[in-house]
Amino acid sequence: MAVFDAEKVQGNILRGYPLDRVRHMILEVSDRRRAREFLAAAADGTGEEVPRITRSANWSERPEFCFNIGITFEGLRTLGLPSDQLKTFPTEYTEGMTRRALKLGDFGESAPEHWPAPFDRPDRIHIVASAYANADHHLDDIEKKVAKVFTVLGTRDGRNLPDGKVFFGYRDGISQPRLRHVFDPEHAGDHQIKDPLGTVLLGYQTQLEGIKFTIPTPEDVFRDSAFNAFRVLQQDTEAFETYLTDAAHFLESHRDVARLLPEGAEQNIGGGMSRHDALREVVAAQMCGRWRNGTPYEASPNSDVQDGISLTNYDYSLSSRCPAGSHMRRANPRGGPIVQRVANYTRRMVRRGMSYGPDPETGEHGLLGNFIGANYGAQFEAVMCDWINFGLQDPGITGTNDPLLGANVPETSRFDLTLKGGGHIRLSGFPRFVKTRGGAYTLLPSLPAIRYLSQLTA
C-alpha cells in the first residue's frame, strides 16, 4: 500500500476549511497553453498572479483563503489528455452529471434542460475552481486572477449560515466519514466505524471487502485524486414550512397523536412551544432524522434537549423510532438493518456544502454541495438511486423517496411517521422540496496530477 502524503492531496477533500465564504467559478479553457501554465503555477505557488492550490497537510497558521480545482471530463480532454488515457476514467465521470440525470433524480423541473446558465452548456464546463475565504475581497481578487486565463462562464457564491444551519433550519454537517490516517479533531468523538482512505481517495483499500477502485492511467499520477459531484440544490423552504403546518393540523386531530408525541412533551421542544408548533417540529425531525438543533431523533424522540446526548453515537434497529424513510437514515443507514446486507457503511462519502442566496430578484436559495468519494457509482449514485430515491434498503419504504431531498410529487409522495409502541401515521401530498439547478462531475486531481496536466503538450 502506498504511503499517504497529505502534500499530494487537495485540501478540500479530507477536511473542511474554517472559512465561511466560497466562490465556485465555472470555467471554460479557451487557451489551453495558458491554462496549463496556470495549473503549473497553481500547483506550486510559483506565480504572483496565480493562487496556490491548498493542500491537505496540516497548517500552522490559519490561511486567509484557500483555493482548489475540479476538472470535468471535457476539461481533461480540452487540456489535451490523450484519448488512450481518457478511456481509463470511469463511465459515470466520462458521461458527466447531465447524462446521469435519471439515476440522480434530476427529472421534471430538476432536469438538466431546465438548468440556468452556465449549467445549460455542460460541454463548455471544463473546470470548477473554488475559492474559500472569510472576506469577499479575497474571493474577488482570486476571481480576477482566474479570469485573466479562463473564460468565466458563471460563478456561485456560498456562505455558512449562523449556527452551522442550512435554510431548512437544521444544523448540518454533523456526521462525516472519519478516515484512517487523517488527523481530524473535529470528529474525534464519533464512534462510527472509521473509513479507509479508499472511501475518498483513489489508490487505497475501500470499505467494500477486497475492492480497490481503478486509478486512471498513469496510476502514479492520478493516485490520491478524488471524484466530486458538485450540486446546486435549490431549497423550497416556504413549501416545506407550509407543509409542516398542514401536517400539524392533520395530526392534531389524529387518534394516535399521543403515541407520536405524548401530551406535555411540547415543553421539551424548542425550549417550550405550543402543541401545534411542537407537532410541526416532530414532523421536521422525523423527516430529517434529527431535530433542527441537531439532536438525533433516534436517541431522543420526545425532546430536542441535547443534554448528554451524543450527536453522532447511536444506531438503528428494527424497532427504531427514527423512520427508515428519514433523510439521515437513507443517506447513512449506519449499522441498522438494510436489505443490501453487505452494504452497511460502504456508501459513505464526504459532504461539504455552503448555503447560497437568497437571490435579490428571484429569492432563490439553497445549498452548494460537494459530494466527494472515490467512485460515483458505488457512493453518490448508489445512494441517490437506491436509497434517497426508491428506498430499496427497507421493504417498508420501497417505492418512496426521501421526504426532504427526494424527487417527490404530491400525487404519490408518502412518508410514514413512527409511533411509540409501533405502527405509523402516513403523511402524503408533499411536493419536491429540493430542486437541482446545476452541477458537474469533477475530478479533484492530486497535486502530481495537476502538474502532469500542466505539462501536456498536445
Binding site: 477486497g210 475492492i211 453487505v342 460502504t346 467512485n375 457509482g377 449514485e381 421493504p395
Partner: protein, 238 residues
C-alpha cells in the same frame, strides 16, 4: 404495399419470398445500409426510470461468450460454477435484492439470467464484494475475461463489461426504438418524428449492431414489489 391487382404490384408484393431478392438483401442491401447509416450498439439491461415500479424485478440476460466452445471448454465453465454453488447462493442471498438467478449453457455462451431490484451496478458491485472469487474462476473461461481479473480490482471495468454483454432490452412498444436510437446517436429523440414505415429497416440495422436482444423487458406476475417486500410479507425475514 398497394391494393391494386396489377401484375407489377403483385410481383413487388412477392419480392420478400423470392430467393434472388433475399440473396440480394442479405449480401448487398443490408451491408450497404449498415455502411451508410448503421446504428450504434444499444446498451444492455433495463433502462433507468423515474417510476418506482420500473425499478423492481428488473431482468438481467447476461451472455458470456465461451473462450473454448468445445465440450472440454464448456465443461471447464460448468465446473467453475459447480465448484462454487454454495458461495453463489450465499452471495446472492447477502446482496439482498435478487428475486432469482440461474446459469445456462447455451450454444457458445454461458448465460446468467437474473431478476433483481434497483440499480444493476450496485447489484454487481455488492456481488463482487461478496463472492468476487467465484466470478474470477468463471472469467478465465470467458472471452475477454482475463483482463477483468481479479474482479475486485477491476470493478468498474467488470461492471462495464457486464453491461456490454447484458442483452439490449428492446422496448415493449416497438416504435419506442426510434427514440432510443436517436438518443444513442446523441440526437434529440423523435425530433423530427420518424416515419413508421421505416421501423423494419431500423430494426434490421439495430439487429446488426445488437445481434442478440431481449424482446421487451419481460413479463412480471406481480409488478411493483421488491424481493425484500415479498420476503417480509411471507414472514420469512428480509
Amino acid at each position: 404495399m398497394s391494393d391494386d391487382s396489377g401484375w407489377l404490384n403483385s410481383y413487388i408484393n412477392s419480392l420478400p419470398e423470392r430467393g434472388w431478392f433475399q440473396f440480394l438483401s442479405k449480401y448487398v442491401v443490408v451491408p450497404f445500409w449498415v455502411w451508410r447509416e448503421g446504428r450504434p450498439k444499444l446498451p444492455g439491461g433495463p433502462r433507468p426510470s423515474p417510476q418506482p415500479s420500473d425499478n423492481t424485478q428488473r431482468m438481467m440476460n447476461l451472455l458470456m461468450p465461451l473462450k473454448d466452445t468445445s465440450p472440454i471448454g464448456r465443461a471447464k465453465a460448468v465446473m467453475a460454477l459447480a465448484q462454487n454453488v454454495d458461495e453463489i447462493f450465499a452471495g446472492l442471498d447477502n446482496v439482498g435484492t435478487v428475486h432469482s438467478a440461474r446459469f445456462l449453457l447455451v450454444e457458445d455462451y454461458i448465460c446468467m439470467i437474473s431478476v433483481y431490484d434497483g440499480d444493476f451496478s450496485n447489484y454487481i458491485r455488492d456481488f463482487i464484494s461478496t463472492i468476487g472469487s467465484v466470478f474470477d474462476a468463471l472469467m478465465h473461461e470467458v472471452e475477454g475475461g482475463d483482463k477483468l481479473y481479479p474482479s475486485e480490482e477491476n470493478v468498474e471495468a467488470f461492471i462495464d463489461w457486464v453491461r456490454e454483454h447484458d442483452l439490449f432490452q428492446a422496448p415493449d412498444y416497438p416504435f419506442d426504438l426510434f427514440g432510443l436510437q436517436d438518443e444513442q446517436a446523441g440526437r434529440k429523440p423523435n425530433d423530427p418524428p420518424h416515419d413508421l414505415q421505416t421501423l423494419p429497416r431500423s430494426l434490421i440495422l439495430q439487429l446488426h449492431a445488437n445481434r442478440n436482444i431481449s424482446l421487451g423487458g419481460g413479463y412480471r406476475g406481480y409488478p411493483g414489489y421488491s424481493a425484500a417486500q415479498i420476503r417480509r410479507n411471507l414472514g420469512v425475514g428480509w
